[in-house]
């Protein structure tokens, strides 16, 4: 029998038992629908995170630390500050800047401040960022006013823009503490802090920060590097400063480095490490995140696959039933010249057809589910200030893969029934009842 004949025959067989064929196919539709929407969700998550990383240029940035530090070791409590730590000072920053492919390197200065303006005050943190960062997210998207174009703060005029703010930072006031001690011979009840006030002008106000990339620049007040470096403050502002406070070192807690491209990360990191500094790059974390996504995808895929396995059992059940019903017919086909190969193919093609049609409709179902889920999810997320986002992603490989998988699983399910049909003994099958 020619392949089209075999194909036609299996379609006729499916058509003859319409209800059963439709129900069996429905099983596959649901299985593939579940698989596709699950995997689509996993892929969508990954896609959103990766593009977030990319948009925030996290693939091209790294953090340089005074010494090679193993974060895991610190977490485990086994960290001992090295005896000789190379200072991450201005000359070190210069040296890093001189590495080819380094686009930008600046010390990370961040400390808590109080902002006073128009009779109100708020506690926040101050962060020093060079004017050159104005080209990159999140500073390239300042909704009100503008980012400072140079290290010299320009003044523009608007209701808020151009106003003066008082930035209040604290320093240790050892003199007054000592004086107080001399007077009463008691230790002060609170830290002897002194307020230092600096007046600056607002040039721009940035919008709400969201996403992974923004965390690095979450400071409430952003000032140029020179301004930030010159502001009086406590000698430490974060953990790195404390770790770094061993004798003989003086310098910054960390230095932010941007490379020209993603591929430059590795050579730049090697050069920096050669200089004796430690490097933390987000790209390392990305590998971990990818690992996590792989596990999540596998779990989501497993749920979908279970649905598909149930569908495959449905196919086996339907086909075994139909073979039992059609034993005589198989005998007749053999008596008029059908070979075992012919019979096997007829049943195989029935399974393949169920798999293909089920896969196609399953894809449609999966797509519909993801669209609806997306609308619903965004509807609930919007009031919470989450920007509109497509939670699902359906790449071509997922579409093609789902179809191939569906047909493959169906063929696998059809394998046993088909060979059972091929082995039907025509003498038994044709024996009169």
């Amino acid at each position: 029998m020619t392949p089209p004949d075999l194909w036609r025959l299996s379609l006729e067989n499916l058509w003859r038992t319409k209800l059963r064929s439709v129900l069996t196919t429905l099983g596959v539709v649901i299985g593939i629908g579940a698989l596709v929407s699950m995997v689509s969700f996993g892929v969508g998550m990954q896609e959103n995170v990766t593009s977030e990383f990319r948009e925030n240029d996290l693939f091209t940035s790294m953090q340089v630390l005074p010494a090679k530090i193993d974060v895991g070791e610190i977490m485990a409590g086994g960290f001992e500050p090295p005896q000789t730590v190379k200072a991450l000072n201005d000359s070190a920053v210069e040296a890093i800047r001189a590495i080819p492919a380094v686009e930008l390197a600046f010390p990370e200065i961040r400390f808590p401040v109080t902002v006073r303006m128009m009779g109100k005050e708020a506690r926040t943190s101050l962060q020093a960022v060079p004017a050159a960062m104005g080209r990159y997210k999140p500073f390239s998207e300042i909704p009100y006013g503008s980012f400072y174009a140079s290290e010299l703060v320009p003044i523009s005029v608007d209701s808020l823009i151009g106003r003066e703010v008082e930035i209040v930072s604290s320093t240790l006031d050892l003199q007054s503490a000592a004086r107080a001690f001399m007077r009463s011979f008691t230790a002060p009840s609170r830290l002897p802090l002194r307020e230092e006030v600096v007046r600056l002008r607002v040039v721009g106000v940035r919008g709400r920060l969201s996403g992974f990339g923004a965390a690095r620049f979450r400071g409430g007040v952003i000032v140029p590097i020179e301004t930030g470096a010159a502001m009086p403050r406590l000698g430490f502002s974060d953990v790195w400063d404390l770790l770094d406070s061993s004798e003989g070192t003086q310098g910054y807690g960390s230095v932010y480095v941007r490379t020209r491209g993603m591929d430059d990360i590795t050579p730049v990191r090697e050069a920096v490490e050669e200089m004796g500094f430690g490097v933390l790059a987000v790209i390392d974390e990305l590998e971990e995140i990818k690992q996590t996504f792989l596990i999540m995808d596998a779990l989501l895929g497993a749920v979908g696959t279970i649905a598909l396995i149930v569908a495959a059992l449905g196919i086996i059940n339907t086909m075994v039933t139909s073979i039992l019903e059609r034993t005589r017919e198989i005998g007749v086909m053999k008596a008029v010249g059908g070979s075992e190969t012919d019979i096997r193919w007829i049943f195989f093609l029935e399974a393949a057809t169920i798999g293909f049609i089920g896969g196609a409709f399953g894809l449609a179902l999966g797509w519909a589910v993801t669209r609806i889920a997306n609308v619903v999810a965004n509807h609930y997320l919007r009031p919470q200030g989450v920007p509109e986002v497509d939670l699902f992603y359906m790449p071509v490989w997922l579409i093609a893969g789902a179809l191939v998988f569906s047909v493959g699983v169906s063929l696998l399910a059809g394998f046993y029934p088909a060979s059972r049909a091929a082995r039907v003994d025509p003498v038994q099958a044709l024996r009169h009842d």
Binding site: T2, L9, R328, A335, V336, G337, T341, V427
Partner: protein
């Protein structure tokens, strides 16, 4: 006489668990081309088994079967399928038509297995049905046909791929005597007009002797008697 169908010491033993059940115990017979022979014998004597072996539906335990110039006993399962579709045509007591298909479709299915081009099948199938007198029953399903009509469809199907030998296993067993006569008449006509070799199993020895050239009597898996039939053999 040069035999067209030949069996030599043909044995078939079924295995019921560990118990061997010998059904054919050395059947040797020869049938010439264009001959009409019948096989008679008591129920259980092995008539159907012999016919199924000739038709390539079953395989012998030992001995030889030759049809035309091919050794059926040495055929692979694929070759047996080719043998069934092109050398022999089989009809059965219970017709064995596919109930969901019309008379015409039952025949086009056989033509499809025989490798007939699709465009030709319907035309040839209706010609075959006309030749057995059923031109007015093309689109009837087996359930809508009388027993005689169903057996005619089965005969037309057996002839679909132009076989050399027609194997008929009690073709009139389910029919009343008048219809049975018509069916046997059709087989005789096919034999005499087209020179088709016919091997028919029957339990009616008188009719068998009347219509066949020769009659073999089977008992317990052996040919115990060869009777002469109608004169022109």
């Amino acid at each position: 006489m040069t035999p067209f169908v030949l069996t030599r010491d043909l044995c078939k033993t079924y295995q019921k668990g560990t118990v061997p059940i010998p059904v054919l115990q050395g059947v040797s017979l020869e049938v010439a081309k264009g001959e009409y022979v019948s096989v008679v014998g008591r129920s259980g004597s092995g008539k159907s088994t012999l016919l199924n072996l000739l038709g390539g539906l079953d395989t012998a335990t030992s001995g030889r079967i030759v049809v035309g110039d091919s050794d059926v006993t040495s055929m692979s399962r694929q070759d047996l399928a080719v043998h069934r579709r092109s050398t022999v045509g089989m009809i059965f007591q219970s017709f064995n038509l596919i109930p969901s298909r019309t008379a015409l479709e039952n025949i086009t299915l056989a033509l499809a297995f025989g490798g007939y081009p699709r465009s030709d099948r319907r035309r040839r199938a209706s010609e075959l049905l006309s030749s057995v007198g059923l031109e007015h029953r093309l689109s009837h399903t087996p359930g809508e046909l009388s027993g005689g009509e169903a057996q005619r469809v089965a005969i037309a199907r057996a002839l679909a791929n132009a076989p050399d030998v027609l194997l008929a296993d009690e073709p009139t067993g389910n029919l009343d005597s008048k219809t049975a006569e018509e069916i046997v008449g059709l087989l005789v006509a096919l034999n005499s007009e087209r020179g088709l070799t016919v091997v028919m199993v029957s339990h009616d020895e008188a009719t068998a002797r009347e219509v066949s050239h020769r009659v073999f009597r089977l008992l317990d898996g052996r040919v115990i008697d060869e009777l002469s039939g109608r004169a022109d053999g």
